[in-house]
């Protein structure tokens, strides 16, 4: 059983929902990323999604685009991101880490080389935004064989047939994109998300994490009510952007954002 599945099953037994924060590795500086990951875990993160910066983040809004630019300015590479996970694992063997990014850095590194290095460092899942299951037939098994979960996206436009096919290629959880749009965009329609996630639950037994549009304790609780976990990204990355020069203040600000979400989610139990 993967570390992700272990965590999500335990939460389910407790009737609790997963809190899954996202930050971009290397933002605001590569030296701070491991420290921020520990801060997220201390503040109640069940799983951490660690963004791999890319020069052309087509599915991201301005907030995460700028985070990628900051990280790339310091030369943050996929190899370095894997190194950060390895360092994180020295002190934290429990919190699953999912690498989230775009395909080309992995392709440039070489899929086999990447899969070996990621597994060895303690990466638990891989979510590649621009890799639908149809193109993942050679790649996803490389991850599965190393006990890393291939995690795929579901969108409001995904048909039932595709939900079925995508779920068959996924393990760990599926990531339901709550809005048609890029990260950090429109307000979320919780009722609509509830209907869509219920439909996904009818089709697959996999846990469903919902991302895009979760900004605070209220939206986290509302979405937590209808899903198995909430993914929080742009609001955290925006906070990082505002505290680039003061690492201690940044740690505190991220903690202050996550704590109320954690409490709101646990109040659902």
């Amino acid at each position: 059983m993967s570390r992700i599945t272990g965590v999500l099953e335990t939460l389910k037994e407790q009737g609790r929902k997963a809190l899954i924060p996202y930050i971009t590795a290397g933002d605001p500086h590569p030296d701070q990323t491991v420290d921020l990951m520990h801060a997220l875990a201390s503040a109640g993160a069940d799983i951490i999604e660690l963004g791999v910066p890319f020069s052309d983040p087509m599915a991201d809004g301005p907030v995460i685009q700028l985070a990628c630019e900051r990280a790339l300015k310091h030369g943050t590479s996929l190899r370095q991101v894997i190194g950060m996970v390895k360092t994180f694992r020295e002190q934290d063997q429990d919190t699953p880490v999912v690498l989230m990014g775009y395909l080309n850095p992995m392709e440039a590194m070489g899929y086999e080389v990447f899969a070996d290095a990621a597994a060895e460092a303690g990466v638990d899942g891989i979510l590649t935004v621009d890799l639908p299951p149809e193109e993942a037939e050679d790649v996803a098994p490389l991850f599965s064989r190393r006990n890393m979960d291939p995690i795929f996206l579901l969108a409001p436009t995904t048909t039932d047939d595709r939900i079925r096919a995508i779920s068959e290629h996924s393990s760990g959880y599926v990531y339901y994109v709550s809005v048609k749009g890029v990260t950090g965009s429109a307000a979320i329609d919780v009722e609509e998300v509830g209907r869509k996630v219920a439909n996904v639950h009818r089709i697959t037994a996999l846990p469903v994490g919902v991302g895009f549009g979760i900004r605070d304790a209220d939206t986290a609780a509302a979405v937590g009510k209808v899903s198995d976990g909430v993914i929080v990204g742009s609001v955290l990355v925006d906070t990082i952007a505002h505290h680039q020069t003061d690492p201690a203040a940044l740690r505190q600000a991220l903690t202050d954002l996550l704590h109320p979400m954690r409490e709101a989610l646990d109040a659902l139990a």
Binding site: M58, A59, L103, E107, T158, K180, V182
Partner: protein, 406 residues
């Protein structure tokens, strides 16, 4: 390595998932998959629909002004010394470039799919103008994404688009050129996928775009083939076209792929020289990767980050290339070469002065290579340049280089 291509082989390219050998495919976020599959299904149906084809052909004839002439450039031939140089005059199309062949086709598709809002990316502005033009004609809302650097370089085309009723969005992210315009168009599409049709201007992007843009642009090669047989009594010995994303080149090459005797030359932007790294020649100096929905040759660094490109011509200033070109390179059917900014500028002046035809700076790359190539060929041989666009839009750039304010 070169293999003999047959019609039967070509009929399987791209395959059902949009692959040309190892290239192409559909690498996009899940939100767009349903739209792309619908587009593919509808296009494959309409491709066989005589009414759709008749509407397309009618527009090409009466709105675009096709067929475009195949013109023997006698004076350029004489001055070059060598093979006969012929020009396929796509610059004479309505809007002044080959781009309109494709926007007519895709706008018809949009109409059949009931989409009222059109988005497009543009580099030099020719595709943006061609898109704004068809939108004006069909009464469709039009949004064009253009890198801020290109907005500056191609201000004339920006104004043309505005006159045509389009909204031009200057893209400030990344390198502020064509690739960033395409990123932003993709982001808009994800957010407005229900009512929006994305008219991609080149043979890149996720399947089925490389297929449908190639089909719409193939009219160039089909006409050239028939005109060469009629006017010269034979097929050309060589075809030359510039390659940014590669839509004018594939349109010219595709109907000749099974004609083994016809040599194909795609000319990339060598910028300050391929050896300087300041260029836009992924086929010459890149390696395969994934960007903008397809696997293809890319300019990237060792970590897979997309590299900044350089070309004097905004339309070639792109780090990728259509996947079918990547395949044609690997199988050895087409030759991909490059010329520098300076060579292109010299060719721009040359064609202007000896033939009275002012080519776009993109096109001037093909002219520059042809002048070198023709000089090595025999006088009874025939080379055709695809004059993909006219150069009026570049007068500001040329004048700026000359230190003249116009």
């Amino acid at each position: 390595m070169s293999i003999k291509l047959t019609e039967e082989m070509l009929s399987h390219l791209p395959d059902a998932r949009g692959h040309f050998g190892a290239y192409g495919g559909r690498f996009v976020s899940e939100t767009l998959m349903d739209s792309l599959m619908t587009l593919e299904r509808e296009y494959l149906r309409l491709k066989k629909d005589p009414d759709f084809q008749a509407a397309f052909d009618k527009d090409l004839a009466h709105y675009v002004g096709r067929p475009s002439p195949l013109y023997f450039a006698e004076r350029l031939t004489r001055e070059t010394g060598g093979a006969q140089i012929w020009l396929k005059r796509e610059d004479l199309n309505h809007t002044g470039a080959h781009k309109v062949n494709n926007t007519i086709g895709q706008a018809l598709l949009a109409a059949f799919l009931g989409k009222k809002r059109i988005i497009a990316e543009t580099g030099a502005g020719q595709h943006g103008v061609a898109t704004a033009t068809v939108c004006a004609r069909l009464g469709l809302e039009c949004h064009v994404f253009m890198g801020a650097e290109d907005v500056r370089r191609q201000s004339l085309n920006v104004y043309r688009m505005k006159l045509l009723g389009a909204q031009v969005h200057a893209v400030q992210s990344g390198t502020r050129t064509l690739k960033d315009a395409m990123n932003e168009a993709m982001r808009d599409w994800v957010a407005n996928v229900d009512d929006t049709f994305y008219i991609i201007g080149t043979v890149a992007g996720p399947h089925p775009y490389p297929l449908l843009v190639r089909d719409f642009q193939s009219v160039i090669g089909r006409e050239t083939r028939a005109q060469a047989l009629e006017q010269a009594g034979k097929l050309p010995d060589a075809l030359v076209a510039c390659v940014g994303g590669g839509s004018n080149a594939i349109g010219m090459f595709y109907p000749f792929l099974t004609d083994e005797s016809v040599q194909l030359y795609g000319v990339e932007a060598g910028g300050l020289g391929v050896e300087t790294g300041q260029h836009a020649a992924p086929l010459a100096a890149g390696r395969p990767g994934v960007l903008h929905g397809n696997r293809t040759y890319l300019m990237e660094d060792e970590n897979g980050q997309i590299a900044a490109t350089h070309s004097v011509s905004a339309g070639l200033d792109y780090p990728g290339v259509g996947p079918e070109h990547s395949w044609l390179k690997d199988i050895g059917r087409a030759n991909y070469v490059s010329v520098t900014d300076q060579e292109a500028l010299d060719a721009f002046r040359k064609l202007t002065r000896v033939e009275g035809i002012m080519p776009a700076l993109e096109t001037a790359h093909a002219v520059a290579y042809t002048i070198k190539l023709a000089a090595t060929m025999d006088p009874e041989q025939m080379v055709v340049i695809n004059i993909s666009g006219r150069g009026d839009k570049d007068i500001h750039t040329i004048a700026e280089l000359d230190g003249i304010e116009v």
